[in-house]
Chain length 327, copies 2
């Protein structure tokens, strides 16, 4: 987590009320307990993944969407969402052969392909074991549907790899599946643990969807924009993986030579940086960021008026925080 | 599925009553529907996995343990257990770089490492989406705990790899985790969909555990015993993977030279066959098979007397079928 992100999360936690920080602490305790409860092998692999942390944005959404809930069921729901997210990261790192995540060695790097694949499976299964204790099939449905969507989104992305002509609608569909659905699930699960009612829950789902889309689009902008010292990776890593995202899709309309680029011809970091510069020169990054901001504005507009003031304030900050990264 | 296995399954289905075959048909329909409901990418990958079939032993256990249930919830429970099983197979094939399963190309072989990993994730998530519709947290708990156990069992097995000195208790623990727990879950979920009551459900769980252990032990015996033309793989593939199983554990006590073998020195199929012959010469295969038969006898003894006669008869055949393979 970068310092400015940490600062933003602190502001959100503060706005959400004095109960939020203790709740996040209970979520951390539960995540550690899950990691420690399956023998030393898992503790070593999963413990490092879980404790590597991250912003805990999804558990925070569960907590805020519950509007004041503080039961053990809420803590389990928040931990379950984070476990599914962690499982996905562990599997992604295997497939990307990634040595580092958040500056720490990945499970793949430490334990190898097999142990990392199985650690991901285990974290996924543990999420549903935890959630089963909430005796609420709606929560199980929300999280398992999000888990399906994550896998489908990744499958689509690999199917689309190296295709410079993929339509905008296809890109947005991938964002829905691989990112927005889990944000939606976090909001729905929180609402179910709280008292938001059906209308409130649907509005919170839409909030989650919108900030999920904004989050993914901004991620894709930052991959092109850098700077590398802030994002922690070279500019253009998506292009090097053959992943065509919004900045390229917008830029190819403005720069026909860019539209003629074969992604397979981009093989060195220097070539990727050159394409990133061309994309930036078209103004596509400004436009993509504006699209992310539209989703943020729509998210803010849909926050239920019936929510307590502190949750409203905190969710507004969450929405702003999504696009405030490195800007 | 081999012909004699098919014959046995037919006998079990016949004993279980006229409602069993239509129920298995509904499970197949549901599995095909899941495979087809996520776009052409999944249909291609998962469809081939699911339609490759297998004995459907786990769905059959769900159906029989329900003692006459025939609702949609029962069909979903049976399909969910098979989806978790399939997800595990798809991931195992990625880790083993396996080109074929049941004589057909694996998802890994057809679609590659990434798509196969994600297809496994998707099948796993879909299992819980299906099961959530049963509105029964006990079923979700049973299946997610079994999913955790599967992953833990595989992790343990990889951690134990190449260690010729692993204790018997450790081997049995791995069998519990990687095989028996899903059989247990199948029985429990069936009992919950039927009317077995708490006592009946616990007895059926023990039945599942025992036949799961017998099933795994016999698999490990067949790996050493062959013949290759029946098992579909070379003798000693476990040894070549560094997996030390019951036949070796029993044989090393009887043949000190075998106990001194370094599994890492077994690198060619011919060397593996030679070690298999040495194991067989100690009588360890007879002893291992006897242990499997003890579990079968214990499974048969625990079948609840309160079950209808046709389910009792079918479960007795299931138990016998587990160790009747290739004998």
């Amino acid at each position: 987590m970068t310092e400015d992100a940490a600062g933003s999360v602190t502001a959100i936690v503060h706005a959400g009320g004095t109960h939020v920080l203790p709740l996040l602490g209970r979520v951390e305790d539960l995540l550690r307990e899950v990691a420690a409860s399956h023998g030393p092998v898992l503790a070593e692999h999963a413990g490092s993944t879980i404790s590597a942390g991250g912003k805990r944005l999804r558990p925070l959404l569960v907590i805020l969407a519950s509007a004041g809930g503080d039961g053990d069921g809420l803590v389990r729901a928040a931990a379950a969402v984070e476990l599914v997210h962690s499982a996905t990261l562990v599997h992604d790192d295997v497939l990307d052969l990634a040595p580092l995540r958040r500056g720490r060695p990945t499970v793949f790097a430490v334990a190898g392909r097999a142990a990392a694949t199985q650690t991901g499976d285990l974290l996924f299964a543990r999420a549903f074991s935890l959630l089963a204790r909430n005796d609420d099939p709606e929560q199980v449905r929300a999280l398992s549907d999000a888990g399906s969507a994550l896998a489908r989104g990744e499958l689509l992305q690999r199917a689309d790899a190296w295709d410079a002509t993929i339509p905008l609608a296809r890109y947005l569909r991938r964002c829905e599946l691989k990112t927005a659905r889990l944000f939606e699930a976090a909001c729905i699960m929180g609402a179910l643990e709280g008292g938001a009612g059906v209308d409130g829950a649907e509005a919170l789902r839409e909030f989650g969807r919108r900030i999920g889309l904004a989050f993914q689009i901004l991620d894709d902008v930052l991959d092109v924009e850098g700077p590398a010292e802030r994002t922690g990776k070279h500019r253009g890593t998506d292009l090097l993986d053959g992943t065509v995202t919004l900045p390229f899709i917008l830029a190819r309309e403005r720069d026909p030579e860019l539209g003629a680029v074969d992604p397979r011809a981009i093989v060195t970091p220097a070539q990727a940086e050159e394409v990133c510069d061309r994309i930036a020169a078209t103004g596509a990054l400004v436009e993509a960021r504006a699209i992310a901001l539209e989703h943020v504005a729509a998210a803010k507009a849909v926050i239920p008026a019936a929510l307590p003031e502190r949750e409203r304030a905190a969710l507004l900050l969450v929405a702003d925080n999504v696009v405030a990264r490195y800007s």
